[in-house]
Symmetry: C2
Subunit: 367 residues, 2 copies
């Protein structure tokens, strides 16, 4: 890109930006109108460190959309095909959000904060405006807003050790996708066992901008001997671990079934949720395409836009993200592939710009 990005109120800094800058961030993307770091040392060096040590991630851009009021649970259940009956204040639920056609509107983690209050920790799409329109149109008794809450992630194999030093040993008892309140420095922090890597860790939902840097600094100080570093979601590791990125790997044009998220589509919801009719039909007839892990040979150009996936001269899919994986010594990729060619072991050709390379569909992700 030529030219630089102007400072503007349209791109928001986060409570942790001073820490991120002090740590020597090299680049960002803009995510929910907010800065998201993408690189500190190099994507490869950050990857190696993430897999061996522990990192603190500024993921404040995973904004919380708060649904509060007597109709909050009803609204949430209306827009996700996942049965939310199990959702309670001790548990996180990954909930595909679908529009009336069954298309993926977002894929947040849902939290229950109080009897009549839920937060959706969103990927980049305008969930607040969409839900506000729906709630107002249907005259529902629920207020939609974006509170001053910013997730901070602790990720990597040493994240338990580091989290325990701040929040006490009890935090290590949290099961996967469980959450609870843990005291430190006079604040009761909401901590979940979650995060956008396959290396284990926690996410802290930091309530109040002023609480951000004290926690950041405390984690950095407490983890020195653990070689803690500022980090960020890693473009290689997340593909290896099969963590999907909304807006890149999947969009409103894809259904949760096509995204391989069928286990989050509950049969008992399809009679009532938005898009339920389309999803029921798709489930009965079988999806026509599916997101699949793909291994690609050769030296590929940097990935920006989708690459066609070819069977001979016929396009049978598209690669939606690809990166070279040092640990697996291949290009790891995620592709949307037609049913005719989605079976593991199928050999295809990817057209990456002017380069043609062999691609093989895999059965599972790498990590």
């Amino acid at each position: 890109m030529h030219g630089v990005l102007d400072p503007t109120r349209r791109v928001r800094r986060t409570p942790f930006t001073p820490g991120v800058e002090a740590a020597g961030v090299k680049s960002y993307i803009v995510y929910n109108h907010m800065l998201l770091p993408t690189e500190f040392h190099s994507v490869e060096a950050d990857y190696r460190h993430l897999k061996n040590h522990v990192q603190i991630w500024d993921v404040a851009c995973e904004r919380q959309i708060r649904l509060k009021g007597p109709d909050a649970r009803k609204l949430l259940q209306m827009v996700t095909p996942r049965d939310c009956a199990r959702l309670d204040p001790t548990r996180c639920l990954y909930v595909p959000i679908c529009d009336h056609t069954g298309g993926m509107m977002n894929d947040p983690i849902a939290l229950q904060i109080a009897e009549d209050e839920f937060w959706l920790s969103i990927a980049p799409s305008p969930v607040e405006a969409w839900l506000s329109g729906i709630a107002a149109a249907l005259d529902m008794d629920v207020h939609i807003s974006e509170p001053d809450v910013s997730p901070l992630a602790i990720q990597g194999p040493k994240s338990e050790a580091l989290a325990a030093r701040i929040f006490g040993d009890a935090v290590t008892d949290l099961g996967f996708f469980r959450c609870g309140r843990f005291a430190w420095n006079g604040v009761n922090w909401l901590v979940a066992r979650s995060g956008w890597s396959g290396q284990g860790g926690f996410e802290i939902y930091v309530e109040g901008t002023a609480n951000g840097m004290p926690l950041w600094n405390a984690l950095m100080a407490a983890g020195q001997d653990l070689q803690v570093r500022a980090g960020c979601p890693n473009a290689i590791e997340r593909i290896e671990s099969g963590l999907l990125s909304y807006g890149g790997d999947m969009t409103l044009a894809d259904t949760p079934l096509q995204c391989g998220l069928g286990k989050y589509v509950s049969d008992n919801q399809l009679a009532q949720c938005w898009g339920g009719r389309a999803l029921k039909e798709e489930r009965e007839q079988g999806s026509t395409r599916m997101l699949r892990p793909v291994e690609i040979d050769g030296d590929l150009p940097g990935f920006v836009d989708p690459w066609p996936l070819m069977a001979g001269e016929t396009q049978v899919g598209e690669v939606r993200v690809s990166r070279y994986s040092p640990d697996f010594a291949t290009n790891v990729a995620i592709a949307m592939v037609d049913r005719s060619h989605w079976f593991a072991g199928t050999e295809l050709t990817v057209r990456a710009g002017s380069i043609n390379e062999r691609a093989v569909i895999r059965d599972t992700f790498w990590n």
Copy 2:
């Protein structure tokens, strides 16, 4: 800002980006997830040139939200307090869009493309998602989408001369906020007499990405002797001309009446449009605050976040944008000011960081 912006599909290039880059763009902002140039030579040099010559602006980021279907007009009229009865295919209408509280959701120009098709040329807010939610919730027969249409502006005192060389002399007969179709190079271009400067000009709604650069190049070639240049909305000139910027000068927390847009709020709509009850009440009781042009003395720091506007020790408003104007030899600013202090001639103090300067409320904008 430390660090650079990563290339990503989340920030879209425009059909004109190759031309913008070739012209040596210096910086961008991200606007509706798309690049918007903010500077070519310098903001001051661009300003001087805009006022004397003619510029071509890549304003593709003014995305079009298409409402198409039998209920399209009904949906449009539901979310704006402006009476759209006069809207027809020869006319543009500036329409405040309001949510159910009467807050400004956006301030697009509306175009009627066909009997059952309208475009909203939007400022940055998620209108598509919001309208889609509303339309689906109310089961309205209208499809909401973002077509491949990218506005290109011709602005400046020589814009008539340049436009006529491409679209023929008939284009100079277009009245202000009138639009029509003009043939060039085998395409029937939709051209409006409009644009986000006070220097006069046109906006062409370029349909189809592939049509972008041929038109850009033709305008650049045809305007050489007019000293045509690539330009962009100018941060100084637009304040002088009183052109409001949604997301900066005004947000969802402001009503159109508070934004000085009362003439676009039609009494006959308030019984039926979203937010109509709140706007009717505000009109009857009088607004408690209003956007006002303000002149500020002294040497001010660069504007990023709002500056408090003080009457003694009491805050009575905030400056929402400010720039030094070479032509008026003062800082031109737009502020939201409480009723008690909004009258022209009122002297206040602005707190710009650590600097206090005298501010005077004006009756009208500068240009």
